[in-house]
Symmetry: C2
Subunit: 343 residues, 2 copies
DNA sequence: TTGTAGGCGTTATCAC
DNA sequence: GTGATAACGCCTACAA
């Protein structure tokens, strides 16, 4: 026997399909007697409404399309967790799809969601604004996360990378560091660019005389190691390495420690993101509220869908400075890395 | 202007909707001329097929429902990554929903997917077999992951926890450890139970005379700390702690090191899972191929859906022993300071 | 090769 | 309060 439809229930309860629909959806006026009969029949037949049919009829799916790039473990799970939490409390489902770097595929993925989702949550830190806008299905409500394209036609969310970088620079300077080297991320990445800009701007403002140096990087641990080794084996030494993300910072730490360099005694190391590993390695970093960003983006998309919120500005979430052993002045105090604030 | 439908395209191309459908779906016989006209019109109007309508008509959604419990960062992202990878290569989408411990809610979540997905990927290590089977929509193809219910009516995937635990026991014994204490996970969790059983079985077989001790735990780091402290402050000492997961192992390590106990000199520590942090802390552990499990489960579900595979057995993935510093015999590998930040 | 028409399962608009 | 019935957008026999 195949799945029961609303017609089966109607027949079983000896009423019309209209009454079944009304009885089951609560809303309209139905006599208690028929409602009970309908509910009993539905239960007896194991009836479950067909979501596709309902979506077609209502032109609403109660589903949010989520398009993310290939991203590393923690970031991915955190942002999805935030979205899922918000979606659950709003009675929405999440349709996942990962955005390939290929624009063709990305556009295809977006199109495939038409009629299946009520709105889109898109994160594409590597895609240029115009490219993305073109790929967007015309009428679909969408919220852009970490997108260069956000703010104009579509609302967006992002990390205040400039403020974050500035906060770290301020911290390092306050610790007495004089020559801070920034290990940048890939130029194709929006966050990486903003962090670098934040760094140079903050240095120019807070330490006008100090040397400003930026090394190219790619967000990978190996690159952090290589950069640190290069720094050691060349001319004027630096006394602080501020990496554009934690992975590179960790790589730098390893290389420095392998070379017997005192961290932070001789060189301080700082990262960005606060991945879980950072706590164990006592790495100072900027904590990025990823889950919160996901949750807030979802909530805003929901408001956009039901017309409650029609703004298109970009909301920036400010990272929080987390000071640990790798930038502490004097004695390193990572004796108990567990005393970190819980997220 | 609202989204174009197949009728708009038909009108624009001066053909029937049937021809549009045929032309766009490639399959049937259409004259090259009309196909070109249709494609041109579709592009001109920005036509994208409505997935809900198509699902309703075809009784197929090309979507897989994924139901996961609340799980910690890495596990979640890894398994979803595996599924997503496999889904992408098969042209399938992923509809996410997290399974709440509450059976009512779980059943509701499963029901809500009716008509929206072609099959279900369910992971519920905490739910009893019968409960889960009851909650399953009757006809829906489903693959169970880490479920006690797998293997009977539904195919399943799982970790060979017994073999994994045995491998770790063998390793610890080979390292000369005599008194191994197992720090178990929550009894409600299938993996935890199997790991514990694997431990006791392996001990009975490989070290018949040795004392076998099991401490209750809950998979949390704090519990690992508390357990280690308790072990230190009581009677006969042990020389190895084998935790049911990495989190507890890490907690135990910290407690031991805080107490000045030489690890692994006096007490070896081992975990299970190989979370990313494990590498940085030089924790020996069993590596669980999570992404692979997700990918294979999805592939098998796809075969189940198209009738290619109708078996219902459980496939077990074997964890791999990863030996690091915390179980090494002789010289402790603390020589690499960055692997032991609390030194 | 192409067009007509019926059906997929629901909801909503009418009459009654 | 209840019951026909027309959408919703697409696919697919069946005819032509």
């Amino acid at each position: 026997m195949t799945q029961a439809t609303i017609r089966d229930v109607a027949r079983h309860a000896a009423v019309s399909v209209a009454s079944v629909s009304r009885a089951l959806n609560g809303a309209a006026s139905v006599s208690p007697a028929t409602r009970d009969r309908v509910q009993a029949s539905a239960r007896a037949l194991g009836y479950v409404p067909n979501a596709a049919a309902r979506s077609l009829s209502l032109a609403r799916s109660n589903t949010i399309g989520v398009v993310l790039p290939e991203l590393h473990g923690e970031f991915f799970s955190e942002i999805v967790r935030g979205m899922d939490r918000a979606a659950g409390s709003l009675g929405l489902q999440l349709l996942l799809s990962n955005m390939h770097a290929d624009v063709e595929l990305a556009a295809h993925a977006l199109r495939a969601m038409r009629g299946r989702v009520d709105g889109l949550l898109i994160m594409a830190p590597e895609l240029a604004a115009a490219t993305l806008i073109d790929a967007l299905p015309g009428q679909q409500p969408a919220v852009l996360i970490n997108c260069a394209a956000a703010g104009r036609s579509h609302p967006g969310f992002g990390i205040d990378n400039r403020a974050g970088a500035a906060a770290m620079v301020r911290h390092l300077l306050a610790q007495g560091r004089q020559r801070i080297v920034h290990l940048a991320g890939p130029g194709s990445n929006l966050d990486a660019r903003e962090r670098q800009e934040g760094f140079t701007a903050a240095m120019a403002e807070l330490a006008p005389g100090a040397p400003v140096e930026v090394l190219a990087g790619d967000f990978h641990e190996e690159t952090g190691m290589a950069a640190a080794q290069a720094l050691l084996s060349r001319g004027p030494a630096c006394d602080a390495i501020f990496a554009a993300n934690d992975q590179m910072a960790i790589g730098a730490m390893r290389a420095l420690q392998d070379a017997g360099v005192d961290v932070p005694g001789r060189i301080a190391v700082a990262g960005f993101d606060d991945v879980p590993v950072a706590r164990y390695l006592a790495l100072s970093t900027m904590r990025v509220p990823i889950a919160e960003m996901g949750a807030r983006a979802l909530a805003r998309l929901a408001r956009l869908i039901d017309g409650t919120d029609t703004t298109t500005d970009v909301e920036l979430l400010v990272p929080e400075l987390v000071v640990r052993g790798t930038t502490a002045t004097g004695a390193i105090s990572n004796k108990n890395p567990q005393e970190e604030p819980t997220s």
